[in-house]
Structure formats: C-alpha cells, structure tokens
Symmetry: C2
Subunit: 346 residues, 2 copies
C-alpha cells in the first residue's frame, strides 16, 4: 500500500524526533547541520506531502470571506452571483468559514466606497470584489492590502498590478465571438455596435468588446465604414434607434455590448421590420425570452455565477488547505441559443 508518509515516519527514517522534522520543514532553525542533512536526505527521497486535513484541524480558525458586489435589485445581471455565493456556502458549510455578501448601488461611487469601508472595518480574511469603478477600486484595494486582507476580483479586471487574483472573461475575445456569430448568420451589409449604458461605468468593458468586434471584421477585409457604433441612453433609446434604422436601411446585424439587448429586440417586435440579426449579452430573463421568441439570435454568457463560485473556491482552498490562489482565470465565452440556454441558467 502506498500510504502517505507522516512526519512521524520521516522522524523514524532520519533517526530524529518529530519536533526536529517539523523545524526542518518549517525552516524554524535550531537544528544542527547533521540533523538537518539526515532529515533532508529522507525528504528528497520520499516526496512528502503534508496531510492538509490534519493541518487544518489543528489551525481551526474561522476564516471570514466577504463578497462585495452590486445590489441585484438595481441590475438583474448580478442575481446569479448571489446563487454562486449560496452554492459556495453550501459546499463549504462543514468548514469553519463565514461567507457574507455586501451590496452596493452600482450607480453610485459613493455607495461603493462606503460599503467597502464598512467591510474593511470588519477586517475579514479576504474580500472578493466586483471593481466596477476603476479609480475607487484601486483605492479600496490598497486599503485592504494595508490591513493584510486578501483581495480577489471578478467580473471586470482592474488593469493594474493590484489585482493579481481575477476571475472573468477576455472581453476583447468576447467581441470577436460576437463578430464571428454575426458573420455566420448574416452576410455582407452593415453592422451596428450598440452600447446601452446609463452611466459610463462600463466604459472599459464596452470598448474592449468593440475593439474585438472591429478587429475581427478588419482582419476579414470588411471596410471600417460598414460597422457603425451607436450609443444609446435612456429615455431616448427608442427614438434614436428608430432614427438610426431609417438612416441605415441595409443593416444586417446588431451587436449589443451590454445586457440590455432586450430593449432593442422589443423595438423590433413592435415595428415588425424585416429580420435583422441580434447578438446580445447575458442570460437575464428578458433576454432569454426574446431568444426563445426569435428576435435575439445569440446571447453571450458571462457566467457571473461561476465567476463568483470559482473565485470563492480558490479563496477557501487557500485558507483551508493552504493552496496558492491562481492569478487570472479566464472563463470560456459561452455561446447561447434558444436550445442550450437552459443548461447555463440552472
């Protein structure tokens, strides 16, 4: 049997006590060169792996993890994240863990800051952060670091050395996926990139997606003028979009870079125009409804639930089992049509 060797076994093999082996393993010093070498000789031969279960049992501290994310009541996009948190809580409930969520208003940087200040005051062991606001995110991440709080990020990457632990998607590539999809279902004609953003909080997201989208068609030899960028804002979305359609009669496809694709689909449904392909983002209820009804052709799934779940899993495994936290984890860019949507929503 290849039973795992323990510290006791090593001690026996090296002819020393378990205390000495422990000192060698943890580099605590106070070991004679002779003892050090005999222990090391054994270690080199046997490929020792400490029993993480025993280690954790000894260090039985309650680790507290906090997830800071937008309140889903402002934007249903965040709803699956809550499920991801609940799933992680369930998965790890037998361990000494405390996982809590704190919500901020995604339309208010002030709310973002105060919520993070409150979390900081709790001095948790780690924070999983949706860093919506670039400048403010860097500030609070530095505050966390000063206090020795481990910070992971998800959803969007803060482009700096500050966020080493990130779970999300490659947004440039995501734009390319959207472009390829439109290219598959519609041929030669104009395409529109539509940004629907109330505030400019998603600016970087949308720019990256647009860059990917345009690069794809550039590489394909499509002239740049065939792709038109349109920015729409409430409450003038319908008015401006209808005007845009009239100005561009040969429009073949639309790429909506936010989760508001359903707003475009709704306008199409009301006006009964000839078919224009629509690619949108995120499996929120309204989008999925139009996907099944046929107005939206594909949705790109950003898998927010899995983002949170994976990031939390990494943190838990770090604290409980001493594993290292992975740097950047890029999730697959899932392509969703009406036939496979159900599997991504569970």
């Amino acid at each position: 049997m290849d039973k795992k060797l323990t510290i006791k076994d090593i001690a026996l093999l090296a002819g020393v006590s378990k205390g000495t082996v422990d000192r060698v393993l943890h580099k605590r010093g106070k070991v004679s060169t002779k003892a050090f070498e005999s222990v090391n000789a054994v270690l080199n031969e046997i490929d020792y792996e400490p029993n993480l279960i025993a280690r954790n049992l000894k260090n039985n501290k309650i680790y507290s993890l906090v997830v800071v994310l937008p309140d889903p009541s402002f934007d249903p996009y965040w709803l699956p994240c809550v499920k991801g948190i609940e799933e992680a809580i369930k998965e790890f409930k037998a361990f000494n863990l405390s996982i809590k969520a704190h919500y901020f208003n995604p339309e208010s940087t002030k709310s973002f800051i105060t919520v993070n200040e409150n979390v900081l005051a709790l001095s948790p062991d780690a924070v999983l952060l949706a860093p919506l606001f670039y400048k403010e995110a860097i500030t609070v991440m530095n505050l966390y670091k000063e206090k020795g709080v481990v910070v992971s990020t998800f959803n969007n990457q803060v482009q700096s050395a500050e966020d080493l632990n990130f779970v999300g998607q490659d947004l440039y590539q995501s734009g390319r996926v959207g472009a390829k999809l439109l290219d598959s279902i519609a041929n030669n004609g104009k395409f529109a990139i539509i940004h629907i953003n109330e505030k400019f909080k998603n600016a970087v997201h949308m720019q990256e997606k647009e860059r990917g989208f345009r690069t794809f068609f550039k590489e394909k030899g499509v002239q740049e003028e065939a792709i038109i960028t349109l920015k729409l804002k409430n409450p003038s979305i319908e008015l401006n979009f209808t005007k845009f359609l009239e100005e561009n009669p040969n429009l073949q496809g639309i790429f909506v870079t936010t989760s508001k694709g359903y707003q475009i689909a709704k306008i199409f449904n009301q006006t009964q125009r000839s078919k224009i392909a629509i690619i949108g983002y995120d499996l929120i209820e309204e989008n999925v409804a139009y996907l099944h009804q046929g107005s939206i052709d594909f949705l790109i799934h950003q898998n927010p639930k899995r983002q949170v779940y994976l990031a939390l899993t990494s943190l838990v495994e770090h604290f409980i089992f001493g594993k290292s936290i992975p740097g950047t984890t890029l999730l697959p860019i899932d392509i969703v049509n009406c036939e496979n949507s159900i599997f991504y929503m569970a």
Copy 2:
C-alpha cells in the same frame, strides 16, 4: 463569533458525556430515553454540523478510485479525459487517495470485459466507467455492485436503474442545438444528418442526436423529406459522400453526429464546392483546424475532461467528506466557433 459547535459542546449543554452524544448521533443505541431526549433537545436547537475534517482525519483510509475508459490512442476524443484525471489527482493529492486509469480498446467488447474484470479484482472503492457497450456495461456494473464497489458513469448513460450516478450531456437536446445552429446559418434547402461510425457502439448516441435534430425541424414545420440521414463507413466514406452530394444538389447544411466531422470537411476542401454549412462534434485537433480554416462552422463540445473531473470530484467528496453522490449531472451543451474554441481546450 459563530464558531461551530462540537460534540463536546453538545455534551456540556445536554449534561451528558461526549460518548453519549456520539451514540445518539450515530444511532448506536444503549442510551436511556432521558439522555436521548436531552441530547435531542440540544440538537434540535443548534443545527449541528459535524466537522468533516476531523471525521476524515480519524477514518484515514486510503480510498482507491479507478477510471475505466477507452484508450485515447484509438480515438483522440478520450484524450481530454486523461487530463481531467490528472487534474483531479493534482487537486486531491494531499488526501489519502489513489486515482488510477485503466484503458480498454473501444472497438472490442472483449477488451471492455477483461479490463473491468481486472479492475474488479483490485476491489477499489469506486469505479468511474465509460459504459460504451450497453449489454456488457450492465453486466459489469452488477458485478461491481455485488462486490460493494460504487459505480459512476460518464459520457453516455446506460438507460437503466443501474447507473444512478451519471455525468454527461442530454443527447436529444444536443441534436436540437445542432439543428438550431444550422437553422441560423443556412435557410430553406435540404439538410443531411451524417453518422460516421466504424462499429455500432455509438448507436444510441447517434439516434438520440438524430431524434433531437429532426424534432426541431418538425416543430418548425419543415417537411421530413428535407432532412436526409446518411450512414458512412470507412473506407467508402469519400465515394459514397460524393455520390450523395451529386444526388442532392440543393443541400444547405450537414450535421455530423460523431467526432469525425473533419473527414467531411476534408472532402469539401479537396473538391472546392460551393459553401455548405457543417456542424460537428468535439474539439479534437483535426476538427478545430477545419473550424479555424472555415469549413466547419460550429462544433458542439461534449466537455469530456470536465465530465471526468466532475464525476471524480463527486466521488472524492463522497468518500472524504461523506457527501452524497449527485444522481444525474447534465453538463451544458457548449457551442464552439473559431473565436471561443481556445477556452474550451485549456
């Protein structure tokens, strides 16, 4: 602090010893009604969760898991499974576990049986099985059960009460996804369902996929004659397929139900015909090459790596942490084009 309550705490609260609490928890009897009730009263109030880490430390047995799957050298489809096994080994190497793979020849039922007999002789704690051969699979699964070996299955479901633990995909729905994709990129004309199978081992797979595919178009009102089923076998694939194309000049799209889509794409490339859409299965090297080159439009990803990894994770968590093994786990049916393929191959 909401520190977890231990058996000792419960004993204190109930005014008994930890031994008595243990007997109540494990229903070992030899407890007076009075003690039983006082312990139960405490248990009802405090929602006790045993510390799985401590439990596992005590029962430190080496659990052995064996994966029985086809030798990837016969069919590269199985290669990712090996990676999934390696990943699981790495993930759980700190625990007292032994995960081993045993390969059989996917073209020989005899090989399937002998390999399983060898595994049975090892009497592992659990077997994760790719039950390619229906009848033989049921036989060996019963043998495992008789010996008290836990059996999980992946890849394809044995339609019986025997395989309670299954990780795979809904193949009927998978056929519908393929249909919807063809429907998106090609319009009115004939479609072909092509089965390329050396043996009939995949018969059930392919039938389910065909059923899904046909049902989709039936619901859409397409007449049944517009969808033609074609069975191809080596070495006459090219001959028969070319003949088929000549007989069906208005063919718009092809749905290949196996991982051999590249063989069809190759023939197209050689003969420079007008564009016919191709949907195939599985991210094997040759398929992905044609996906990027443009001959194949979409691939449906069955995620064999994740199937194995998830199934193993469930088994490990069952043995190490006493969790219950989930019944049927259906993975998402991933739609892959040239722009998002990279994320599914990592």
